[in-house]
Symmetry: C2
Subunit: 450 residues, 2 copies
């Protein structure tokens, strides 16, 4: 295989170095590291076709690798084989500002993309915090803090170029804003975690940068009250740009880690964005609503530095916890109908208390999506079990309430065990689609399904 890869692609695109294999053995999850046999760096779609043809012929696993920021082990090549790294495919192919649309290679990251389009007054708003690659974000159907307004990646994807397991190159959509033509392959590939095809081009929608942004925060006595307050904001019809719950423990961690001084109470963080007079009005209405509900510490970020700090703190949350020595993190990612959110959040906080583990509750409550993070010592079987138990209880309760075990991080390795419960007989259909599209099982084997 090595000779054939080198012969077909050239030496500069194939690596077996210890450092590259190590780098591609992991992502940001705590799933065990497994090194690929090779790391391949394609430079164009033809390279990807060559790799897949060879891999399909020799039945060698291929696991696409974006920025490695995934939280469910999706990029870990658990059956070894080839890790396909998109660092060198990070160009802008076609930028159409007048259509609010851009076509890029999958390796470009979110921040690179924004740097490119921001100067034209446009932005790509999906924000998972990490500087993920656009390909990885499509593959996991990522979303994050702005989903309450912009939805998830699937809502932004117009067209994908995809190389199938046998090397066939297809397009999954078009550049039209809507279409009723044929089956919706855009949606199918988005969120498929590299198991159905390799994405080599992405066309996404862009949006105008809001003229004015106001950030604010306030605190409540309990995480449940925060969730209920979020529901009131949604019901008001006000289109917040972000609305995040951060519980007291998480605030404490982030204060310590980042030297902030946020009140260490259960908090809601807001961002309003749009035309100046409209956002001003929105912020005022929400302030009144929150005060009626008995919030404390309502505070606006008055300078853009204060605003940046506030969201930097929110984005550092996971790292703040990870900072704790001798512990690793694991988390839940459930998403439920908004009316069930308070119940879920309270349940999550209680489970953490009962477990005795250090942990926090935070999340994108405008979507009914929240995370728990639990810190455990990977060498202490009791702590391992407690952390797993917490995650499991939350995932199962979310599914029972009509929700999902993963609102945005994806299935990867950690959420495979909930797939039968969540999808029932549909899971067999999904598996048969996988077999149809990848009969030899070379595309990121072992992910989503066992």
């Amino acid at each position: 295989m090595k000779e054939e890869l080198i012969e077909s692609l050239g030496k500069a695109k194939v690596s077996q170095s210890e450092s590259e294999r190590y780098r591609h053995s992991r992502d940001e999850s705590s799933h065990p590291f497994i090194e690929p046999d090779f790391v391949v760096f394609p430079e164009n779609v033809e390279d990807v076709v060559k790799v897949l043809r060879l891999a399909n012929e020799h039945v060698v696993p291929v696991t696409p690798y974006g920025a490695g920021s995934g939280l469910e082990g999706q990029a870990i090549p658990i059956n070894k084989g080839i890790s396909l790294n998109f660092d060198r495919m990070n160009k802008v192919i076609e930028f159409s500002p007048e259509d609010l649309m851009i076509t890029v290679e999958p390796g470009i990251t979110r921040l690179q993309l924004n740097e490119y389009v921001n100067k034209h007054g446009l932005y790509f708003p999906i924000d998972p915090g990490a500087d993920a690659s656009i390909g990885g974000m499509v593959a996991t159907n990522a979303s994050g803090t702005t989903a309450v307004r912009y939805g998830s990646m699937r809502d932004q994807v117009l067209d994908l170029e995809v190389v199938l397991a046998n090397g066939t190159v297809i397009h999954t959509g078009s550049k039209a804003k809507k279409s009723s033509s044929g089956y919706h392959l855009n949606g199918l590939i988005t969120g498929s975690e590299g198991t159905l095809g390799v994405i080599t081009k992405v066309t996404v929608k862009l949006h105008g940068i809001p003229e004015k942004v106001i950030a604010a925060r306030c605190t409540f006595q309990t995480p449940g009250e925060c969730a209920e307050a979020a529901q009131v904001v949604l019901a008001s019809g006000i289109q917040v740009l972000r609305m995040e719950l951060v519980d007291a423990e998480s605030i404490k961690q982030v204060n310590e880690y980042g030297n902030y001084s946020f009140p260490e109470e259960h908090s809601l963080f807001f961002e309003f964005a749009g035309a100046p007079n409209i956002v001003e009005e929105e912020a005022t209405v929400v302030e009144e609503l929150m005060k009626e509900l008995g919030c404390n510490n309502w505070e606006r970020a008055n300078s853009s530095k204060e605003r940046a700090d506030l969201w930097k703190a929110r984005h550092e949350m996971a790292y703040a916890f990870k900072h704790i020595k001798g512990k690793v993190s694991t988390g839940s990612d459930s998403c439920v109908p908004i009316s069930k959110l308070a119940e879920m959040v309270v349940f999550g906080r209680e489970l953490l208390e009962q477990s005795g583990l250090i942990g926090g509750v935070f999340g994108h409550v405008g979507d009914g999506n929240f995370h728990t993070i639990a810190m455990y010592d990977p060498n202490d079987p009791v702590e391992v079990e407690k952390a797993e138990y917490t995650n499991e209880q939350i995932a199962m309760k979310a599914i029972n309430l009509g929700g999902t075990c993963t609102g945005e991080h994806g299935v990867g390795l950690g959420k495979r065990k909930y797939q039968v419960t969540e999808h029932g007989d549909a899971l067999e259909l999904m598996k048969s689609m996988k077999t149809l599209m990848d009969p030899k099982g070379i595309l990121n084997p072992g992910k989503i399904f066992y």
Copy 2:
């Protein structure tokens, strides 16, 4: 088969009457009528399972039938067999106003659904004009005048209950607002025109009824100017609720048909909706923009009667043309990136002029989606050819410009011939998915693919 259907379902659910067979032989398109052998009226999911099990065993085609308002012959049982009518499955199953969500049976129509939820201050905004069934709207990924703000059905569907060809019942999603769990079956079934499964329950998002609505219209010298003006409105970032192009010929027809007195010029119709001070501001800004571009006849609908008239006229457009004696209608439904719209609209108008057929150009220009309608005498081969030529030129040009042959009506019979050009190698994948999910080809055979 008849005995088995009756034995399994009871006599009251199976009809072979001439009138029912005639009613189910057609939709609102001009494709030739073909009568089913039987019409079956399921009353619950178990009935649908029974029908599909029998049909699969005996290899009898099953074509779901919603309200028969389709424009591409999707509901015509071209291979005969069973027409599956959802009139009796039209109940609300679960209404969760606090989650802005409702679960209904597929036979409920758009207006019935709105009657149910409007009194709670909520609405289901997708509006294809016709009083289509929700099941049919999911199956065709319908949209219409409000897509510029709310997208199409696929953007509104949270979960579907679907009976597969072999009688297995699956769920395609969940009640969470977003999810990264498993493959996106919601999106796959939506728009599949009854070819992959039969929808027996639909969970969709609801939205708050806007507090205030303002309607307005203005005219321009050319359809191209209208399209350019629409682009300016989009670029402004103002979230119109509706923005429709209607060309002079269409206005003329609708004036005659409905006894209106709109200026018979190329027109843009607008609707703004939201909080009172915000919509007022929006309408004013758009008025200024349009006047800067040299529009004429800017007029606001001042009473709610005037507003209702304006949109009634827009919705009657197709019927206004159909009114012409001795002629039937056919149309195009292309959707292109917004920067290509003016070119397309001009091209469409020119083709109609060249053909000498009576016809109009109108559409949902905020999405880059527009229709031509051409009236022809079905017994005059020259007119038939001219009408077909017009449709073909428009579909092919739209595809060449990166768009789609069908923005909202679906493929059915009339757009099958463009599928290879539009989807290339992806079409083979779609076909193989069809074969996977319906190996005997009993589900609405002959639609989407030949």
